[in-house]
């Protein structure tokens, strides 16, 4: 057991930089794979809705009829057309869990590696803006949307994680992210393009306030913000052993006691009368789109599958 007054904090800039460069180089080919997957998925495939205003077209735009008559039939762009798929711009936020359970379960290093992989893949893809936020007790922006995600930026982001925060407030994270996305939509580049917003949460998945989170997840869906929860699983044994040197360098405690997968974790509810109800934690996980990752090598495939399914659903909904 560890105590609150732990002095382990933020890594030095040199340590953060070394760790970033290490993860960046070891995940390089995986990042390329992910970039290729994403290129196919994120490219515009939706035939856009009918839009105005054209001199000829498929259907009349009723809003334009009265001005058309009033203008003496001169303002004649009164037709709607199904135009080419418009160029899409993306704002993608990666939220990394900085809480202490990440260090205790030994998932912090896998989480950093995941962050490096995704951030590099997105930067290579050049589909839009990438932000990184750090959450635990509170939410802090570690990299802003309007800055390019370079290698230096990566090192700087790594320098802001200590995995020592004393709470995992996912509810606050989602609330704050909705605000950040709203601001980003107002300030974002690529006006006139179709803007899509995507959030990737990287965490060990242990959080509370599930009902309130579910409500916020629904709200984000209504605002067309997709949230994918990437659970880095504690049973990521082998890959962690390889990385134990890096972990030590960063001061992330590694213990050797056997790890339990989040898939086996049980939640228990005990009423004041002493009635006990148990269920598999993941059966009531508040995020609809989640992946459980034990090895970064799995990530390009599973993340692509989740995004593909989501886009398929959005196309369905758009009818």
């Amino acid at each position: 057991l560890t105590h609150l007054d732990s002095s382990t904090t933020i890594p030095t800039p040199e340590t953060a930089r070394d760790l970033w460069l290490h993860h960046e180089s070891t995940t390089h080919s995986l990042a390329q794979t992910l970039t290729e997957h994403l290129r196919l998925i994120l490219a515009p495939t939706l035939a856009t809705k009918l839009r105005g205003d054209f001199r000829t077209g498929k259907r009349l735009n009723l809003k334009r009829i009265i001005p058309y008559i009033a203008s003496g039939y001169r303002r004649d762009k009164i037709w709607l057309r199904r135009s080419q798929p418009s160029k899409r711009a993306y704002q993608i936020m990666i939220a990394l869990d900085d809480s202490r359970s990440m260090a205790e379960s030994g998932t912090a290093n896998l989480a950093l590696k995941t962050l490096a992989l995704i951030a590099r893949a997105l930067a290579m893809l050049e589909v839009g803006e990438v932000a990184v936020v750090c959450f635990g007790d509170d939410v802090k922006v570690a990299h802003e949307f309007d800055k390019p995600f370079t290698s230096d930026a990566g090192a700087e982001v790594f320098g802001q994680f200590s995995f020592q925060q004393q709470r995992t407030d996912v509810k606050r994270l989602v609330e704050r992210s909705l605000e950040l996305f709203q601001d980003a939509r107002m300030n974002g580049q690529g006006r006139g393009e179709e803007l899509w917003q995507l959030m990737l949460i990287v965490s060990d998945g242990i959080c509370d306030s599930h009902e309130e989170i579910q409500r916020l997840v629904r709200m984000s869906q209504e605002q067309r913000i997709m949230i994918v929860f990437i659970v880095v699983d504690a049973t990521a044994g082998q890959s962690l052993e390889q990385d134990s040197a890096e972990a030590e360098a960063k001061g992330i405690g590694q213990d050797t006691k056997e790890k339990q997968s989040i898939l086996d974790l049980q939640s228990v509810d005990i009423t004041t009368e002493g009635k006990v109800v148990r269920w598999r934690y993941m059966d009531r996980f508040p995020f609809r789109w989640y992946l459980v990752v034990r090895d970064v090598a799995e990530l390009p495939g599973v993340l692509a599958t989740a995004l593909r399914q989501w886009f398929a659903e959005v196309v369905d909904a758009a009818g």
Binding site: L4, D5, L265, Q266, V268, V276
Partner: protein, 104 residues
Amino acid sequence: MNTAADGLQTKVQIKLTTRHADIELPEDPGVLLVSTSVRRYGLSSLVNSLLQTPKPTPFEFLINGQFLRTSIDDFLTANGISAESTLTIEYTRALIPPKHVASL
């Protein structure tokens, strides 16, 4: 740490152990996620449910060798332990005061 407002919702991972072979759990449930508002009585109900005892037995609980006399939440605060840690909780049969036994 502002846990006052939603303290009821805070969860902690626990691992149950015992030194007494006769009250060992028939099946290891692994790590369990429980509310930090739970007290001795609630944990006792949990162990009874895991033991599938026909007649409930009262249990006492120790965390780091200290008896749990409050909610887990208060215990963590008093001992400077974070709810981000997995707690190992040892259980043992409660010593029933003689008066209580007589009244049964």
